[in-house]
């Protein structure tokens, strides 16, 4: 199991705000890699995430989320156990929680800790190369906050060694 922290930035590049994870990934990748972390920017989901999460001790996932309960551009921290509220699982879709559960069920060495940061977005459904204005103006702050969070997680992880 590798101790190197993995930071996954997820998104869909052709949907307006849904690309926020990808945009932040591009912004932070050079810095995070220079700090010794592994960064992947992915337009993937489901079981294909298993390929990336297997044998990782710690992982961070940055993705868009639309709860309607937070301000646009706010970072929502989601714990894997929070996904319990969405049980029972359906046969239709495989997301992060299903991938993690499958890894556990099959002894595929899921990460000891997965930290999920959802960025509350306004419009994740419109096909557009542009993000919403509300989100665009928050980019620099979001980048800084995510970076801070990753550093904090990395420190915590190194203290567990």
């Amino acid at each position: 199991m590798t101790k190197k922290l993995l930071v996954l930035f997820l998104g869909n590049s052709i949907f307006a705000d849904d690309k926020i994870g990808l945009v932040l990934g591009e912004m932070l990748k050079p810095m995070l890699e220079s700090e010794g972390h592994e960064v992947e920017i992915l337009e993937k989901t489901g079981f294909s995430l298993i390929d990336h999460l297997e044998n990782r001790r710690d992982a961070v996932i940055v993705d868009s989320v639309k709860t309607g309960k937070h301000k646009v551009g706010e970072i929502v921290t989601v714990k894997p156990e929070d996904f319990q509220q969405y049980a029972p699982l359906t046969s239709h879709y495989v997301g992060i929680p299903e991938a993690l559960k499958m890894m556990t069920q099959l002894d595929l060495n899921p990460p000891e800790q997965v930290h999920i940061f959802g960025i509350e977005v306004e419009d994740p459904y419109t096909i557009s190369e542009e993000m919403s204005q509300k989100l665009t103006v928050r980019l620099d702050e979001l980048s800084e906050e995510i970076h801070k969070n990753v550093l904090s997680i990395a420190r915590g992880a190194s203290m567990r060694e």
Binding site: I14, E43, K44, S48, Y86, G95, Q105, L108
Partner: protein, 488 residues
């Protein structure tokens, strides 16, 4: 309502809304399946350089990006009037079969699988991929995960990326395969055939040996006599990458066989006010409403339709499986919607065998991978068979290759009329006395899940569970019950 129908559900695979109208006795009088499909891509494409279309259209969804990438690449061949070199064509077809194999395995084990491997009436907590693993065992679960992982790796190696490939260019592919890479690919080809045959065994052991399941597959609730369409080669055998479109009638006779360029002569689209999806139908038969039979232009695509529209499979073990399926189910054509699951496994075997054939073809490592286009672009049409049916791309450009018009006929659309029939028939068979419960929900879902519909445009989501809503109305149009799942 608009927000529920369009906004929360468009980024997930297999979303839908069903409206059920009851009569005075509480029995289903009519059921509607609403499928809001994003068709904005045609507009989105206008003004773009046409060479970007294989990358743009592969983002239509995260489930079948390769199907769009390939249809788009073939459209560019046609548009620039250039054919791929022989090695490039073989590389494309090999990659495409790897994709089909991986996608079909996903449906067999994790999307459609829970209905049969776990059981249609199993507790809903178990009716998912984790339930499948619990039923078939950890070893099988690992085998499926490992095989899909290796298939994705192979396509990443050849096509640059798994989910949004970047290798198709007009006249060929972007990179050759080295001799060393070919050796690895051959090994995976061998493993793939074993995996596909193992999958057939699992299906036989769990599904076909269970009389209750076989009765369900052959039940009237899931049966429609419609036309069928699929790509066939020169011997009328199933082909996913190329060929002519063949249509067979409900009685199994060849009704039409045409080149993709003639699709507008054969296929038209009907529009209904209650759904965003259009209903393609056979123009020469005509739209007669949501009815089945020889006089109705309703048609079907996807695995069962492809097998019905063909005269066989081009590889030996797939041909054996093809013959066994039709023999067991009473001969061609088979009209049982749920037989799509079996047909999908027959196709899985074909995809694996064809992948292996091409992996061992010495021409696969030939560096002559591209004919450079020199013609001025104008219009192009490309077709392939997506896992869930026939996919057609059609672009028109100016002389600089800037898109003026794009038309995409996606696989799930071709099935939309028959899926509407399926949901209506299943709901009528199941909804009695106004009772709506989770078991009903699943049995109605099974009516469209067998087609493996793909309405997704997103490649990821939270919470990771499909939003679904059923509205039940009385005869006077009064809403009497709404069953929601994962919707506010």
């Amino acid at each position: 309502m608009k927000e529920i129908v369009i906004n929360p559900i468009t980024r997930l695979e297999g979303h839908g809304k069903i409206i059920i109208v009851l009569d005075d006795e509480g029995n289903c009088k009519k059921a509607y399946l609403q499928i809001p499909e994003i068709r904005g891509f045609e507009k989105f494409a206008e003004g773009r350089h046409v060479e970007d279309m294989p990358q743009i259209t592969s983002r239509i969804c995260g489930v079948c990006p390769m199907a769009h990438h390939m249809a788009s690449t073939k459209t560019l061949d046609d548009l620039f009037k250039v054919q791929p070199t022989s090695p490039a064509k073989k590389i494309r077809e090999m990659v495409y079969n790897v994709f089909m194999l991986e996608d079909h395995a996903l449906h067999v084990y994790f999307l459609g699988g829970p209905d049969f491997i776990v059981g249609p009436n199993a507790p809903k907590e178990q009716r998912n991929m984790l339930g499948v693993v619990a039923k078939v065992g950890k070893e099988v679960g690992l085998k499926v995960i490992e095989m899909r992982k290796n298939l994705r790796k192979t396509n990443e190696l050849i096509a640059g990326r798994t989910i949004h490939p970047v290798f198709g260019v007009p006249g060929g592919v972007s990179r050759p395969i080295s001799a060393q890479e070919a050796e690895e690919i051959k090994k995976l080809g061998d493993e793939s055939v074993n995996f596909a045959l193992f999958t057939l065994k699992v299906f036989k052991d769990i599904v076909l040996s269970n009389k209750e399941y076989v009765d369900l597959i052959t039940s009237d609730a899931y049966t429609h006599k419609t036309y069928y369409m699929g790509l066939v080669d020169e011997k009328n055998r199933v082909n996913f990458y190329d060929g002519k479109l063949r249509v067979t009638s409900p009685s199994g006779k060849e009704f039409a066989k045409f080149d993709a360029h003639e699709y507008l002569e054969h296929i038209a689209e009907h529009v209904e006010p209650w759904t965003y999806v259009k209903f393609p139908f056979l123009k020469k038969v005509g739209w007669k409403g949501f009815v089945e039979g020889e006089d109705s232009g309703v048609m079907s695509v996807a695995p069962l339709a492809r097998l019905n529209a063909s005269d066989g499979m081009a590889t030996p073990r797939a041909q054996e499986a093809y013959e066994e399926m039709f023999k067991t189910l009473g001969g061609k054509p088979v009209h049982y919607t749920l037989a799509n699951h079996w047909a999908r496994i027959v196709e899985t075997i074909y995809a694996a065998e064809r992948f292996r054939e091409l992996a061992y073809d010495p021409e696969i490592t030939d560096p002559n991978i591209r004919n450079l286009p020199t013609a001025t672009p104008e219009a192009g049409i490309g077709v392939d068979e997506a896992p869930r049916g026939t996919l057609i791309h059609h672009y028109e450009t100016d002389a600089r290759g800037v898109v003026k018009k794009a038309n995409l006929l996606v696989a799930t659309q071709h099935n939309s009329a028959r899926m509407a029939l399926s949901v209506d028939k299943a709901a009528r068979s199941l909804i009695k006395g106004g009772k709506v419960d989770d078991g009903m929900l699943n049995m109605v879902e099974m009516a469209f899940r067998a087609y493996d519909p793909c309405h997704a445009c997103g490649t990821h989501t939270l919470p990771g569970s499909m939003p679904f809503m059923i509205d039940v109305y009385d005869e006077n149009g009064t809403l009497i019950e709404t069953v929601k799942r994962n919707l506010p």
